[in-house]
């Protein structure tokens, strides 16, 4: 029997699901191997159990947490799909802003008051902390990146279909960067997160003339202390360093200074 595969999205740009649709060459082959039961929580959620559930997006609200619990309880394997699900991505930055500020900036003073005072009337607007999926439920695998890497998605799927452990080597982005023979951005006096960031993206940003901002999260052995020291020695001011760390890595345990 074909495994039942489902996709669910929470707060995200949905780029990861799009990245999957962009695997045009393999899409039909994938569909031949799995039964895609949900590609968004459309079919009544109470039904079905899933062999593999992919979760895209970060978790922001009480009702999202409930929904995630429910999905977890009905899924054999749960995969965090993309940076938002893996570490909260850019939106985790708002964990460092007072909620009142957030509401005010986006919806104005008046609505801010309404939301904060009357949570009942505006139930959809309740906002808690931005969390990665694994901060809420057990995650079996992570497909990192903003957006996720289709090759890794395929590798994971093939591995799960054949009962083998997928392998996502914990190598720095620098490894792939060198394989692509890029000029190191440090040579140009810019700071890169490649040495401490989880690779697997083929160093795609550096290949395109940019640098690495670590969207795939930090390596388990990331030498953050040395990295911060290096940026300091390069004369980058602390606000800029902090901004860089809070671009994709706000929720990484080792990335910030003391939090909360």
């Amino acid at each position: 029997m074909k495994p039942k595969v489902a996709f669910f999205d929470f707060a995200s740009c949905e780029g990861c699901q799009l990245a999957l649709l962009n695997c045009e060459d393999d899409l039909l082959a994938i569909l031949a191997q799995v039964e895609l039961v949900e590609f968004r929580e459309a079919i009544s959620e109470q039904a079905g159990r899933y062999d593999i559930a992919f979760i895209e997006g970060s978790i922001h609200r009480e009702q999202d947490i409930e929904r995630l619990y429910d999905i977890r309880s009905r899924s054999k394997v749960l995969v965090a799909l993309g940076a938002c699900a893996c570490n909260g991505n850019v939106q985790a930055r708002s964990n460092f802003v007072a909620p009142a500020e957030n509401y005010k900036a986006v919806y104005g003073e008046e609505d801010r008051n309404r939301v904060q005072v009357d949570g009942e009337y505006w139930p959809l607007w309740t906002h808690t902390r931005v969390r990665a999926v694994h901060e809420v439920v057990k995650v079996d695998y992570q497909l990192r990146g903003c957006p996720m890497q289709p090759t890794e998605f395929l590798h994971l799927l093939k591995s799960l279909l054949t009962g083998r452990e997928p392998s996502f080597p914990a190598n720095a982005v620098c490894v792939e960067c060198k394989k692509n023979e890029n000029e190191c951005v440090y040579d140009r006096g810019l700071a890169c997160f490649g040495p401490i960031a989880f690779g697997g993206c083929d160093a795609i940003c550096i290949n395109s003339g940019h640098l690495c901002d670590g969207c795939r999260g930090l390596l388990p052995y990331a030498n953050v202390k040395a990295h911060r020291q290096l940026l300091k020695e390069m004369g980058i001011d602390i606000t800029s360093v902090q901004n860089r760390y809070r671009l994709h890595l706000s929720n990484e345990p080792d990335a910030g200074e003391v939090r909360r």
């Binding site: 949905e14 569909l31 079919i43 708002s94």
Partner: protein
């Protein structure tokens, strides 16, 4: 139950305005009590957390608002940031950006039209059964979409959240060899695209009309996608982009986490149909021909024809891109320094993205740190209009349609606006509560 025509329809999690939405329809004894489009997506507060960032970081971050419109958000962001910094980009940069933008139109429109809309017309639940029934069709559609993705990737370095383009230029110019490859493939794709056009021609578009205000960019010299002033079909003049707040008049409603818009009347429409309505004469001649073949006359007041207008724009972007790519290959590329000096300032930028007009505005302090930000996305401008359409549509059709048919037509209506991808990839849950 249905003969008394008292029911509630709830279509859950349909649209995305940054994500999720539901439709609620309550009728009682044949009378519509309530039609409501609820937007239930979690807030992400982009406008707030980009504060403190530098211009290029803002642009990189803001593209994460939406995966499928990432290029549009980047370009609108870049235009706004550059306006704030007092930067005028080179002609080469402008040309590359126009191509990048069109590549996104091709990506997005082909995804929406070929994959999300077609199944409705074929009576399939989604593209999946269609892939079995019409494998050739699906393969052709896949190839066209892949080409569009590769087009974006060649210019922007990646197909999603491109990184090669930045403030005041290109971090790394596209490889001309690859550009040439894209040109050739795009040229070869014309017959394929025309085959899709033939197919779209045969689809039966529901008959329904409601005139509304159509809002888009307008440019004196070209079919406005990248540049122009704001044009509303209710007025004769255009409005400078800087006055966008006047246009969007954003307000909030309790049942939605998105903001709503209106201009000269209760609501307005943005997107392919609005553009075609406003700028028909500037479409590529081939696209005008296509419009004629598809039976799309401007102005057209049937929102379902937004799909048709998308097909017309696919034709336009394909031919226009071919011309731009040929020029590029002819002229070659010159290395330009993509640097800038941060200054205090404020700027707005507007651009047409597949779903309609998009506005960005930012303020920066003297160190180039973002002070405040505002983004008005097409779908949030459309929501109000969609709700108005539904309010008009339901009472009209209630007497002649079954509950299921009505639900389907509502979904199709919503999908016609192309509010997002995933909503339409899958059939919606239609719940009668």
């Amino acid at each position: 139950m249905s003969d008394s025509k008292s029911y509630k329809i709830r279509l859950e999690h349909i649209t995305r305005v940054e994500g999720h939405g539901s439709i609620r329809i309550d009728t009682h004894q044949g009378k519509v009590e309530e039609v409501r489009l609820e937007i239930v997506e979690a807030n992400r507060f982009f406008e707030n957390f980009v504060k403190g960032m530098q211009p290029h970081e803002v642009v990189q971050t803001i593209s994460r608002i939406c995966g499928i419109c990432c290029v549009g958000h980047q370009l609108a962001g870049l235009k706004a940031v550059e306006a704030a910094m007092g930067i005028t980009v080179s002609d080469q940069t402008m040309r590359l950006r126009k191509m990048l933008n069109e590549s996104q139109f091709l990506q997005s429109h082909s995804l929406h039209l070929y994959f999300l809309t077609l199944p409705d017309f074929f009576g399939a639940a989604s593209i999946l059964p269609l892939a079995q029934r019409e494998p050739e069709l699906v393969k052709r559609a896949l190839a066209l979409k892949k080409l569009a993705n590769d087009y974006t990737a060649v210019l922007g370095g990646r197909a999603l959240h491109p990184v090669a383009n930045t403030v005041n230029g290109w971090r790394k110019l596209p490889d001309l060899g690859k550009v040439e490859e894209i040109y050739t493939r795009l040229l070869q794709s014309v017959p394929e695209m025309e085959a899709m056009l033939e197919l779209i021609k045969t689809l039966k578009v529901p008959e329904y009309e409601r005139e509304t205000e159509y809002v888009s960019l307008k440019h004196p010299d070209e079919y406005a996608l990248y540049d122009g002033e704001v044009c509303g079909s209710d007025i004769d003049t255009t409005v400078p982009v800087g006055d966008y707040r006047q246009v969007s008049n954003e307000f909030t409603v309790a049942h939605s986490t998105s903001k709503w818009s209106r201009w000269h009347r209760d609501s307005y429409m943005v997107g392919a149909l609005a553009r075609v309505n406003n700028n028909f004469q500037q479409l590529h001649p081939k696209a005008q021909e296509a419009a004629a073949e598809l039976g799309l006359k401007s102005p057209c007041f049937n929102p379902y024809h937004n799909n048709t207008a998308q097909m017309v724009e696919i034709v336009h972007c394909t031919h226009n891109s071919l011309a731009m790519l040929a020029d590029l290959l002819n002229d070659g590329l010159v290395e330009e320094e993509a640097t800038y000096q941060p200054v205090a300032g404020r700027g707005c930028g507007a651009i047409e993205v597949p779903r309609g007009i998009l506005f960005h505005e930012y303020g920066f302090d003297a160190n180039g740190r973002c002070l405040d930000a505002n983004a008005i996305i097409p779908t949030s401008q459309n929501i109000n209009n969609i709700e108005q359409d539904m309010k008009a549509f339901v009472p009209l059709m209630l007497p002649v349609m079954s509950q299921d048919e009505l639900a389907l037509k509502m979904e199709m209506l919503l999908r016609a606006y192309d509010p997002c991808i995933s909503c339409s990839v899958h059939m919606l849950d239609v719940k009668f509560v």
